[in-house]
Symmetry: C2
């Protein structure tokens, strides 16, 4: 039976029988599920919100039998449009937001079994009383299922890893056999028993199957933090400084975030209650927000982390750094997290979530800025990023006061140029931590070897033979 | 053309044309390639040792065209027989031991591009002048390719992760299209561009394709170490102690290794120049070897790691621990690494490389010992393991002086009983860090859901349609 054969009242009836009336949204109630955080704006046929795995299974069975397209959605905070429906109005949004009854902490195992719909913040609230946390830190509050589908990284990857490196097990509801639940992995740190299939669902953009539960490793909460905003002596000094940190204070390095002068200025100019941490006439061209975190109890090690950081930075003066603003973590992170808001105030952002080997990150940023200045002088680069893991948010702003009108064709040319430079000249990635969605699928198709797209075809055919689940198809381009 | 159609002189000629005379071994020269480190003893048709990727490609093309079975082999240190040929005498051993010309360190990126045949020790020798190391620590000197095929873990996983979590990219030579080289991943820490295919080759036992090169993240060498052998107050105290370590000294915890009284005694009794670190009449039932490692330069933090450890342990006395031998890392690790030799001196080892959620590891060891004492009173358990990551080498010895003769049928029953307990009662794994090979393939087939074996069928059919490469087939059992 084709999708069109099932009229809406019949579908509503079938869904109500599975999830009850409270589990289905229609009309204006669907708005929040139809618009993405940055890209993606479409129309859903209906939004269905199962409350447990049995309900997910039943919805999947219905969709598989009737040939209904469905789109898994977590907290809808994704940045590439992979969690929002297309414009066809035929996709059922399968929101996991009510799938949140399990959050079982095994304190001694430092692990937690958590339902896909639980948010990062909720998880951390549950972990806090045990002195634990899931330290993936980013500027949103995603659901655990969405974090798996994106393999979220964030600002503290250098110390704690990404989702993949903390993932012990997944529970997945399959399209084929329809509604079958499969458990991939266990709450183990060592488990090498053949192909580790759960890996194929990490960073999989929600295509082909529904992740319903994850077992993840969590970490001891730090006992101390120390923060500084430092100005490097030169581009070359940045890597020297990072290497010195890893050699001398590497046990504690949690964040090493680059902030360009433009990015800092945009935040300071447009976000209230934000001040320049340096003298007003001393705005740096580039600064690095460093954070150390320690589990070490001062009782045993006499460690004063801020003192250790200050003493290290003193030694770096006149070699790798020329200025530093110390302490006041809240203020410094507020500055870091205000860049996006500041950039939006300037104009329309054209976002590039890219990465390169970190040894070449300063060179990439310089060449990227030169490219924009030369070919797109009416655009402003507002770049910031995670120097220590090679990730850069090389964002470009089409300023409100630009002489040229915003032009999608120009944006397209810019995207081609920047992504080409990243991938072809710098051995980098066109999607560091946001994953693949409709927003950047073109570049997946352009830069992924045909053979790997064929492997994706084979995997998708096995997993979801009718290609009903998800917005992106990572197989060979068929259109 | 079937394998049998190609006579040996023809095959020799074809191989000589690819790798030269020095690249082919026959007869008695093959002995070291035909016998595994613990299990696996077979007969190779020939051993071929390509010296570069082009030669690997040509050998693979020859095998694919002629239907010749081939078996990739690294340093042949595997523990489950996956790197040795079967008894048929038809398999070509493809030794990667000469594939070792690349070992390119990117110091600022903290990464290295390394050929599959380079050994762990050679890699670390190359890294040392840069203040770096690849800190996966185990009682052998495997090749990098073998480490990828096994996803090696070892004794320092808790601080540094396993091979998978440090792997950035792989170069693989495919069986189909025959000899094609594919690059999976790049020297990046953030790279989320669709399915991460390299994951399927990690822990893949060398089946279906040839790993020829890896790009891995390496780490800063520690500036300080501190070591102690402690006696926990009770089984329950072990997890309390571990949690206290992670809370108070977690930045530095690198090893937390359990050693049973039997294991310690076997080493002390049979390995020369080894003494009981405790008073001779004070042999503990169970002890834990703890090691801390710090990158922290004392200059900035005033950290004295051994002092911190000693002061922490003082506080633990009368609560979680009842005895401690401090310092002398060389002596303590010598004791730890002598257990296997001591066990072999006692008799014939029956090895169990298992893992459970670490919160249940002491309970598992107790129940396992009870099972052996009850049903196999003539066997002796010599268990030791990696408490902090849940891995246990629950080895059982058929003593030389046992009244019963060694009986493979009894060993089989014991294996069924222990693996059943691990997997079914404790949510554990029948192969923690040794992977899957002919030695434990039965348990793969028993414990892997049929659906996942079917997925493995599909993947193997795509990768290696004639199933020529490797000793194990992780698909549905066909015999």
């Amino acid at each position: 039976m084709a999708a069109s054969d099932l009229d809406n009242s019949e579908l509503l009836g079938a869904l109500h029988a599975i999830v009850g009336e409270v589990g289905v949204l229609q009309g204006a109630d669907m708005a929040a599920y139809e618009e993405g955080a940055r890209y993606g704006q479409g129309r859903a046929r209906l939004v269905v919100r199962p409350a447990d795995v049995a309900q997910v299974q039943a919805v999947v069975r219905l969709c598989a039998e009737r040939g209904l397209a469905l789109l898994p959605q977590g907290a809808n905070t994704g940045m590439v449009g992979a969690s929002t429906p297309d414009m066809s109005g035929t996709q059922l949004v399968l929101s996991l937001s009510r799938l949140r009854s399990h959050c079982e902490v095994d304190v001694a195992n430092r692990s937690v079994v958590v339902d896909a719909g639980v948010t990062l913040q909720e998880l951390n609230d549950q972990l806090e009383p045990h002195g634990l946390w899931f330290p993936i830190d980013l500027g949103a509050n995603p659901s655990i299922g969405g974090m798996v589908a994106t393999n979220t990284g964030g600002t503290r990857l250098i110390r704690y890893g990404d989702v993949r490196s903390n993932l012990m097990a997944l529970q997945v509801v399959l399209m084929d056999p329809p509604g079958e639940v499969v458990e991939l992995g266990r709450a183990l740190r060592k488990n090498n028993t053949g192909v580790d299939w759960k890996q194929l669902f990490v960073g999989g953009s929600g295509a082909g199957a529904i992740v319903t539960q994850a077992t993840i490793q969590v970490h001891a909460r730090p006992a101390q933090r120390a923060t500084a905003l430092v100005v490097p002596a030169s581009d070359e000094a940045v890597m020297e400084l990072l290497q010195a940190f890893e050699r001398d204070l590497g046990d504690w390095l949690a964040a090493f975030e680059g902030i360009s002068g433009n990015a800092m200025q945009a935040a300071i100019d447009h976000v209230p209650n934000l001040r320049n941490p340096f003298a007003p006439d001393d705005a740096p061209e580039f600064a690095i927000l460093v954070e150390l975190e320690a589990n070490a109890a001062a009782k045993y090690s006499q460690l004063d982390l801020q003192e250790a950081l200050n003493s290290f930075l003193e030694d770096q003066f006149e070699s790798t750094i020329v200025n530093a603003a110390l302490g006041n973590a809240t203020e410094l992170w507020h500055l870091r997290h205000s860049i996006s808001e500041g950039a939006r105030a300037l104009g329309k952002p054209i976002a590039f979530d890219v990465s390169v080997p970190r040894s070449r990150i300063m060179e990439f940023c310089r060449k990227g800025r030169e490219l924009v200045a030369r070919d797109y002088p009416f655009l402003t680069v507002v770049d910031f990023g995670h120097i220590a893991d090679g990730g850069v948010h090389f964002n470009v702003i089409w300023r409100k006061d630009a002489p040229e009108q915003y032009d999608p064709a120009v944006v397209q040319r810019l995207r081609d140029a920047i992504y080409g430079m990243v991938v072809q000249d710098f051995g980098g990635s066109y999607s560091a931590e946001h994953g693949v969605g409709p927003h950047n699928l073109t570049y997946y198709q352009r830069f992924t070897p045909p053979l790997l797209q064929q492997w994706a075809d084979g995997w998708r055919d096995r997993l979801d033979p009718r290609h009903l689940c998800g917005t992106v198809d990572l197989g060979t381009a068929k259109n």
